[in-house]
Amino acid sequence: MKLSIKTIIPIIVILTACTDDIINNDASPSNIFRSFWEIMDERYVFFEEKGVNWDSIYFDYQPVFDTVRSNSAMIKAFDSILSHINDKHLSIVSNDGHYAGMFLNDTLHYSISFGKVYSTYDFSNLQTYSHLHLAQLPEGISYIRILPGLKKINVNDLNIRQYDYSNGLIIDLRDCTGGYMSGYNFCSIFLQDERVVFYKQTKAGKGHNDFSGLIPLKIKGENIIKKETPLIVLINRNTYSMGNGIASILKENTNAFLIGETTGGGGGSVMSVLLPAGWSLTFTQSKHYNLARKLIENGINPDIENIPLIDFWKEEHLDTGKDPQIEIAISILQTTK
């Protein structure tokens, strides 16, 4: 029996020691950087499109992280790395909540004061859903705005049939900086059948070019809005990620007319993981392609370009509620009735 105890105890010790093998507890900056680099190396999808030499990033920045001591210095170094990649989906958050990434620096140069727009252009019967606004405009025009963070919605719960959209619908994707892939389900109200609306491609291995084939993703149409209904989609630089995807789907699958600026892009889905010491990394884990099998990472172009100056949005718009892009949309729908 003593022999069996001698056998069992080392097993227990080995199993207990395995804990160190499971949890990466090294909180040093160089270990945090190494984990970041390795996860990106194996799982990030846009190295080729972004023209990034990932090995040189390692050799350039490992010495930096060997010497930095503070969270703020690390955030600064990560900011520098992410600026090389130029993907607004990428971000790093420190364990005390500080952020490194392109999104806040590059996407949100301005934001629209939608409350002022609503009052300036006589919006009525405004209904607010989770991440979605629905309103009536004069002359048989209805308005739907998708807000950031939209998840799957039951489109039959939207009281859209109570609205008069006999002259058309405006779908406002401006400042829609993203949401969930399930938010694409919103497009089902404009579709009459089940159909492939875009393709995704994921990593299939750890190599930079190890990708799956194109995986078709479908949406089942709810046939709520008839296909003859005139649709105007408003987009701007802040239309990003899910907003960008919805713009692409509506452009290819409906008679929607896009007005505004080229969208900010963000053609992929993201996920986040913890780095050592409680830091976290968000990265793009799949690529999205439109029906023409072209990447939508670099944005969707409008049919009618209208780009007010940033100063206009920051000054006159805030003073008066004036919105030249919605004026064009209303004007087009009024002339096509």
Partner: protein, 266 residues
């Protein structure tokens, strides 16, 4: 560490009793076991928790053992449910768990006696087939700290080898059981696993067997030592269970759980 030392002491104490007692074993008949346990866990998976997290777990187990006298074998039926939380003490913005984990094991088994010519020590060997499933998902707190955390899970049907050693020491029974998965078949997330989609059809993919593996590529080891002693008209148990799992397919997972439990057998 203190818990580990405490558990080792219990283990050594139990093992000492093992060699100190002598009494003939009685027929066991049908036994029902209920066990509740708690303990620490260390867990990681390549996909959603690549740097690992520590936490705590609690488990509830029911096991029925039925002795078949003529065929001289034991039939086992076991259901086990575990709940774990995973946290990161280094995250300064939250002290709440970042992920929760549910694990279920369910299945029958058979044990045959091995003749040791020893009235006190009884050895049984056999196997069981168990359904194993686990699901790890981010908490609300995890969703606040980690921008877009992703759930992860797998399920499998395992054929396990099972060895049970039982030593009758007076009114105390000491039982050591070791279970090792030999063969597994089930759904394990592949490298490109992306559980976010706009249609629900992919859920069916998760129900299909996509991986078949054997030891050593799929390692699932469970070791439990229990000391049973009479209390009122039942047998009460204190036990220590260690569960270890490591697989390394396209995605990998590794965890170790220590679980100190109390139970009742009647």
């Amino acid at each position: 560490m203190k818990i580990t030392l405490f558990l080792i002491l219990i283990y050594l104490g139990g093992s000492t009793l093992l060699v100190a007692q002598e009494e003939e074993t009685k027929s066991r008949g049908t036994l029902h076991n209920f066990r509740f346990g708690i303990g620490p866990i260390a867990y990681k998976n390549y996909y959603s928790i690549p740097n690992g997290l520590a936490g705590g777990s609690m488990s509830f187990t029911y096991q029925m053992e039925k002795e078949h006298k003529t065929k001289k074998r034991d039939f086992l039926l076991r259901a086990n449910f575990d709940y774990s939380y995973l946290e990161n003490s280094k995250v300064l913005t939250t002290s709440e768990p970042l992920f929760r984990r549910f694990k279920i094991r369910l299945g029958p088994g058979l044990l045959w006696p091995l003749n040791l010519k020893n009235n006190q020590l009884h050895l049984q060997a056999g196997g069981n087939i168990s359904f194993y499933g686990e699901y790890i998902y981010p908490t609300e707190s995890g969703g606040k700290h980690i921008y877009h955390p992703i759930p992860y899970g797998n399920w499998s049907i395992n054929c396990n080898a099972l060895i049970v050693a039982r030593y009758q020491a007076g009114r105390i029974t000491i039982e050591e059981s070791l279970k090792v998965a030999i063969f597994t078949a089930g759904f394990f997330p592949e490298f490109q696993y992306t559980p976010t989609s706009i249609d629900n059809s992919y859920y069916w993919d998760f129900l299909k067997i996509n991986t078949i593996s054997t030891i050593p590529n799929y390692r699932m080891i469970e070791n439990k030592i229990a000391i049973y002693f009479p209390l009122a008209n039942n047998q009460t148990a204190i036990s220590w269970r260690i569960s270890y799992n490591h697989y390394n397919f396209e995605n990998s997972q590794k965890y170790i759980e220590h679980n100190l439990g109390v139970g009742i057998r009647f």
